[in-house]
Amino acid sequence: MSEADQGFEPHIVAFICNWCTYAGADLAGTSRMQYQPNVRVIRIPCTGRMDPLFVLKAFERGADGVLISGCHPGDCHYGEGNYHARRKFAIFRKLLEFVGIDLARIQFSWISAAEGGKWVSVIEDFTNRVRALGPYRAYQEISL
């Protein structure tokens, strides 16, 4: 990280499913757990709704890290939306790697409605990781 980037605060965009992770994040709130305020949540019904292009769009719009989180395998509210998401992202990651996207800036996780604590630790770890990586200029420069 360059000198100029000292004090850099990353922009984190989180795509989370309505039933598990959104409720897990709500639980972190009702339990008054604290975490860094860098994350902006976009609620989707299910990770099955997740289009890999949303991730690219978020980077293009200045995100430094993107989190996708849904129900644990087997727990998807719709049965198998998260399996579709998982398969899609397994392939998508390869493609991203190929075109030179830094995979450390994408995080995929399963957080249940009961895991307020896990939501907090995932956000904390990911925010710290992306902060250490610095701003994602490489992507933003192409797109601006």
């Binding site: 994040a25 709130g29 009702t30 008054r32 305020p37 976009i42 719009r61 049965g79 601006l144």
Partner: protein, 674 residues
Amino acid sequence: MARIGVFVCHCGENIASVVDCERVAKISASLPGVTYATDYKYMCSDPGQDLIKSAIAEHNLNGVVVAACSPHMHETTFRKAAQQAGLNPYLCEMANIREHCSWVHDDHEKATQKAIDLVRIMVEKVRRNHPLEPVRVSVTKRALVIGGGIAGIQAALDMANGGIEVVLVEKEPSIGGHMAQLSETFPTLDCSQCILTPKMVEVAQHPNIKLYTYSEVENVSGFVGNFKVTVRKKARSVNMELCNGCGLCTQKCPSRKIPNEFDRGLSNRSAIYIPFPQAIPNKPVIDRDHCIHFKTGKCGVCEKVCGTKAIDFDQQDELVNEEVGAIVVATGYDLYNISMDQPNDKLEGYGEYGYGKYPDVIDGLQFERLLSATGPTGGKILRPSDGKEPKNVVFISCVGSRHNAKGITYCSKICCTYIAKHGMLYKHKVPDGNAYVFYMDVRTSGKRFDEFWRRAVEEDGLVYLRGRVSKIYEQDGHLIVKGADTLSGVAVEVEADLVVLATAIVPQPNIEKLFQNLGISYDEYNFVTEAHPKLRPVESSTAGIFLAGACHSPKDIPESVAQASAAASKALILLSKPELEREPLVAKVNEATCIGCFYCLRACPAKAITEKEIKNRAGEVLRKVSEVNPSVCTGCGTCVSVCFSNSIDLEGFTDEQIYAEINSVIERMSVIQQ
């Protein structure tokens, strides 16, 4: 043009103590598309809602963003308020600045900035919302009950008495389930048949109940309010209309050495048989696997003796279709067995108890049959091996249950109480006999259950020994039961004439196939999972499918009946409406651009998508496109993300809306400044 109102809630101090709500409102007012913005102490209160309603009228708003708590908390509240003010409810969204902001951040400046961002994101979404109308689904006013044990019987009777036509499907030749096998029931010791038989008769005679016995549910499709069910009526080889149930065939049948399932193998039955004297329907069935006619083509004695010509060797399985609006699952339980063969590799048998090779080591239901006046011994306690009256009986609790190494960790719940019952009834029949109970804990919770257990010890003299039995083996015609009394710390050895194992309550074998067919969730043991462990205990994970009895977890009769009545009333509530309203957040297809690849069809977890033919005027098929059934679609959006041609979208979470949210997540300026 967008005319959006933004309403920022203080939630008393909950939001306002961290987020500068006034500033959020002020900045929101300057966002593109926003006509009006304000903040208020409690938006969800009556005056708060009135404030929103009058602003909608006064400023002619066509969109509303309420920045307050989680939408899971109050989305319905605010959508209703918007609707009351004449706005389509789906033009109202919430920005979660409490659970996701003020409650989790303490930096006032950063939290306020985040709240502003969250409002901006939602404003951009709402600019692209459009009015939606609830999906209306008609309801078939009939119900299906699967399983005719006490739970299924109770649920069927309750619904039938509520005026609903009920289809009751039972896989065995008679209804009654396990309760029909019991002798007397705890904690009152009333005879099981005496309280069950009237209910079974009521089922058979009820004008609103259509009973299919010796039948199974083959297939289920459709959705809440509109299920289509295929029932396989297995060939009984007896014409039920002609048969008058005289039973002569069962007396004359020469194939008589078949272990009687109802007596759990303690007696034999014929190949044509009525499972038990009080069976409903009280007509026989031919067990084709053991019938001489079916094995060799000869015999036919039953056919010869039947006065009504009811024997029909050529009868075939019959498939019948039924349409119902609600389903109650009441498939009950089975008992774990200690043998070497287990239904799956998670379970293990009890080599230390002989894997079931000793005839005088029996299970609880077998003991019920020995106690029963209609059982193989006419109610006398006589042991299977030599028909002698056992003077020393050992009861062992938790066989399989609460035993991680054998594969089951849960408590089977009813055994402690029925062991007390067994010991008590044994002592009533054999007053000079001794009853020993090896136990881990005595868990007799239930109304008057603990008093019942203490009566067994104090009045009937059952001897309770705390500890697991480590080994059972035969020696000189006796069974040696080796265990430990952990309370006095000594090893114990009992010479027993009969050992009764309280084996774990497990679900019916292979029942998961039915649950998969129904699309309901079940746990690692194959017990049905309820929709919510506390608040929705009789609903399954699928709308319109309810559960009752021991298919959900080990249960006694009062609990099974209570749950059955609860499930029935839930079903009646559902069926009492002329039509159901569903959230219109469903997928829609753009037929003009759909290329007919049907990836969506394959991906859809709800099976809501079908192929539709587009025809010209001459009726020729031009091409095929996808079509969504809005009453089946559950709104997950998986189809949208697999579509190659951007031809399918999800209402409420359209591509346009989500991209607008992504585009506004970060203020353009802050990116450029970086």
